[in-house]
């Protein structure tokens, strides 16, 4: 029998090993065992999370494609393919290369679906910047995304960055990519047609990243761990060539199926392509281009060398395909064939090193993980407002919030990303959502990522719903109709019931919010075991969302445009400071409950703003998020780099009877600030009334200050300097 040490080192349990023997009817070879270990890991097979992922709705406003590796929607005759993926653990070890290869991986998922990548976004989370290692991580990660994405010529158009103690020791790097193609050009990740050749294309195979997904991504992260993983060096130049060669190859019409060699490399791509096509496959590892001598079969099968793919092409066309890859100085070699039956047979140096039924590999066990609400949560949820002293100087509070790294302007980051290449970005980063034109049509595409993990910590179901609602709200503010969702579910060790309780509740929250807003979840990724010796990360179900603009000329930005416009607040401000940035930054507390969310009210709000924008009534629109109304107003005034506009706010009869700090800095959901001409303000009010959305005219754009009802009076210059100056390294 294989010794337990070996399969345990591969991350398999006794029970799993038993099951493998049962499936095989014999003792597995080392190559086979390695293959099972990666296919059944959380990263590839989702054994612990799969049950809950089924809750997500798959259909929405547009026809959706929930594909093998990524998903998307169809708008007219264009397929928009998009997905988000994590590269947390590699980034924690080697931030630049970890983040770079994360971008590379997600982009490969997009173009292997036949879509040309047109935009990326990145959602990043780190521990506090007071710790040097966290600063090193932030700089390295941004450097890596910049290094890789810029070279590829795929604009990085948006994202978010949060800071929280829980990410010290386990940062989060979630990368999202979006691509488009004609709907009939979508490629499949499957093999088919007995006798068709299987080609290996791209870079050569080395010993890098072996076991990355089973060992690295599927276990807790302990500092100083002995078996330090090998990190791969990203090669964006090769990937760029791979994109072009792949687009040319797909255009020949000779491709049956194509798949990225991502996590678990050749194992995943060969087994899954065969399983998806319901065919067998025989491959010969001697033909695989290697860059190191003396590699063993299991190493070749498990290598996670980057920038490689597997292609099933029509018989007789392999020469033509090879030529294309050689034009781009890439390998293109036939390494096997589609066979009868459903077995994957792997040969190396004259021996059969593995022979497995592919659907056994693809059928990772499903576990029912125990879950339990953590005992500390009730205590955390208690927040006696009387114990929170009212700050005397609201100007000071506003400035502190604007300087908080979570709120401060992120231009230091996005200016390191090429966000304009491909000349599609019509709303640049710095507004609620970025907007891209879809060349050749009147339409536009808006994209955003969102998740406030503090809300999720305090109330996972609601926090996850808020992430969905906020993403949709950001799209609506830019003039788009929210269309579809991808997600990246970052959580702690699922084997611990309290962590799993968070996972389950967040997934249910996303599922219910998406159903309510009629949004399909078309793709996503699960990243568990995000823990450091200090404990788990905050539950972080990052939401990536895209929306469609019927008319690109109707796009809207968040900043005020000129003096003399009317400022309208839509939505209701409640006495809520639980989980707020204000409570954390000013009072150093993470407590209370997440703000309330009523999805019916949210829908009414979004409809009002969407319709107002479609009717051309709105000059600017910005939602209230971290930092509440005061921060949102400040951003309206100063977030346009080329022109700042002041504002004078007087609530008058609209003044809610709540604490001043809740009024200014509370994070009540479902609120949007719009500005418009005097004439249109009345029309917006009428629209709001029709939809039963609370609507208050709260002021006017004017002057060189932000003045809020005798509570706040600050010169724009001061606001700008604070907000733009706080996040520069």
């Amino acid at each position: 029998m294989v010794s337990p040490d070996i399969y345990k080192a591969l991350g398999l349990t006794d029970a799993e090993y038993g099951k493998i023997e049962e499936i095989m009817g014999r003792e597995p070879s080392s190559t086979e065992l390695a293959m099972f270990s990666v296919e059944w890991s959380e990263h590839c097979g989702y054994p612990r999370s799969r049950k809950y992922l089924r809750l997500f709705p798959q259909q929405g406003k547009y026809p959706s494609l929930v594909g093998e590796d990524s998903g998307g929607i169809i708008v007219d005759d264009i397929a928009i393919i998009f997905k988000m993926e994590s590269h947390n653990h590699p980034s924690q070890v080697e931030p630049k290369q970890g983040a770079a290869t994360g971008v590379g991986g997600i982009i490969r998922d997009i173009f292997t679906a036949g879509a040309r990548p047109i935009a990326s976004l990145d959602s990043l989370r780190f521990g506090p910047l007071s710790e040097p290692y966290n600063r090193y991580l932030l700089k390295g990660v941004v450097d890596g995304i910049s290094f890789y994405g810029n070279c590829l010529g795929v604009p990085t158009v948006g994202g978010e960055i949060y800071f929280d103690d829980s990410y010290s020791g386990n940062c989060l790097v979630n990368a999202m990519s979006i691509g488009i193609c004609k709907k009939e050009d979508i490629a499949r990740a499957r093999a088919g047609g007995v006798g068709n050749p299987i080609m290996y294309v791209g870079s050569s195979t080395g010993k890098d990243g072996i076991g990355g997904c089973s060992v690295l991504a599927s276990h807790e992260f302990c500092e100083g761990e002995e078996k330090r993983p090998t990190v791969q060096i990203g090669d964006p130049f090769t990937e760029k060539c791979l994109i072009e060669a792949t687009m040319e190859t797909l255009a020949t019409g000779h491709v049956v199926g194509i798949k990225d060699m991502g996590a678990a490399g050749l194992t995943c791509s060969s087994a899954e392509m065969a399983a998806a096509g319901g065919v067998g496959m025989e491959i010969d590892l001697d033909k695989v281009p290697l860059r190191e001598t003396g590699m063993e079969a299991f190493e070749i099968m498990m290598s996670e060398s980057q920038e490689r793919m597997l292609v099933c092409v029509k018989k007789g066309k392999e020469k033509e395909i090879k030529k294309i890859f050689e034009k781009w100085d890439l390998h293109g070699v036939v390494i096997g064939y589609v066979t009868e039956g459903t077995k994957l047979k792997v040969n190396y140096q004259g021996k059969v090193v593995a022979e497995i039924e592919t659907d056994a590999l693809a059928k990772a066990p499903i576990y029912d993980m125990p879950f339990e609400k953590p005992a500390y949560l009730d205590e955390m949820n208690r927040l006696d407002l009387n114990s929170i002293p009212l700050p005397k100087d609201q100007n000071d509070v506003l400035l502190k919030l604007l300087a908080s790294p979570t709120i401060a302007s992120k231009e230091w980051v996005y200016e390191q990303y090429d966000h304009m290449v491909q000349i599609g970005t019509t709303v640049l980063p710095g507004s609620d959502a970025s907007v891209l034109r879809l060349k050749g049509t009147k339409k536009g595409l808006a994209a955003t990522t969102d998740c406030n993990s503090r809300y999720c910590l305090l109330n996972p179901y609601r926090g996850a719903q808020i992430a969905v609602a906020e993403a949709a709200r950001n799209l609506v503010c830019s003039g788009a109709d929210p269309a579809a969702v991808t997600d990246c579910l970052n959580f702690g060790n699922p084997e611990k019931p309290d962590r799993f309780w968070y996972f389950k509740n967040c997934v249910e929250g996303i599922a219910d919010a998406c159903k309510s807003l009629n949004l399909p979840v078309v793709s996503g990724n699960v990243s568990l075991y995000n823990e450091s010796p200090k404990g788990p990360i905050n539950p972080t179900p990052t939401i990536g969302m895209i929306g469609i603009l019927e008319d690109i000329d109707r796009r809207v930005t968040q900043f005020f445009k000129e003096d003399g416009n009317i400022i309208v607040l839509l939505g209701e401000t409640k006495e809520e400071i639980g989980g707020s940035e204000y409570l954390k930054v000013i009072h150093e507390k993470v407590a209370g409950n997440a703000p309330e969310l009523d999805l019916e009210k949210e829908k009414a709000l979004q409809k009002t703003v969407y319709d107002a924008i479609q009717q051309g009534l709105v000059k600017s629109a910005h939602d209230c998020s971290e930092g509440g109304l005061a921060v949102a107003l400040a951003e309206c005034c100063i977030s346009n780099k080329d022109k700042t506009v002041g504002a004078e706010i007087a609530f008058g009869s609209h003044l809610p009877t709540i604490r001043t700090d809740a009024l200014l800095f509370g994070e009540s959901q479902s609120r949007i600030i719009v500005s418009c001409t005097e004439k249109n303000a009345l029309k917006v009010s009428a629209l709001a009334k029709e939809n039963k959305v609370p609507c208050s005219i709260i002021g006017k754009t004017a002057g060189k200050h932000l003045k809020i009802d005798g509570l706040i009076d600050l010169p724009l210059e001061k606001l700008t300097g604070t907000w733009r100056g706080a996040f520069v390294f």
Binding site: E94, S203, D208, R228, V231, I233, D235, F237
Partner: protein
Amino acid sequence: MFEAAIKITLKKTVADPQGLTVKHALESLGFNSIANVWMGKFIRITLNAKDKTEAEAKVSEMCKKLLSNPIIEDFSFEVSNA
């Protein structure tokens, strides 16, 4: 005053795409007897120390702490009087 000449190179087990690209470029220029190319960093530092041993200890520390990432890189250096 001492001068340290530091070389930072990728570990042997790590693929070096830059080196490979430069190798191809050299070959297409007609240099055809090249076995391999590796790209690394060269850092020169001048520093004060009471003797060579101390200078070496300092430089070694700098390499470990900042100049190289041990996950993917190796370093080596020489210290001389300057």
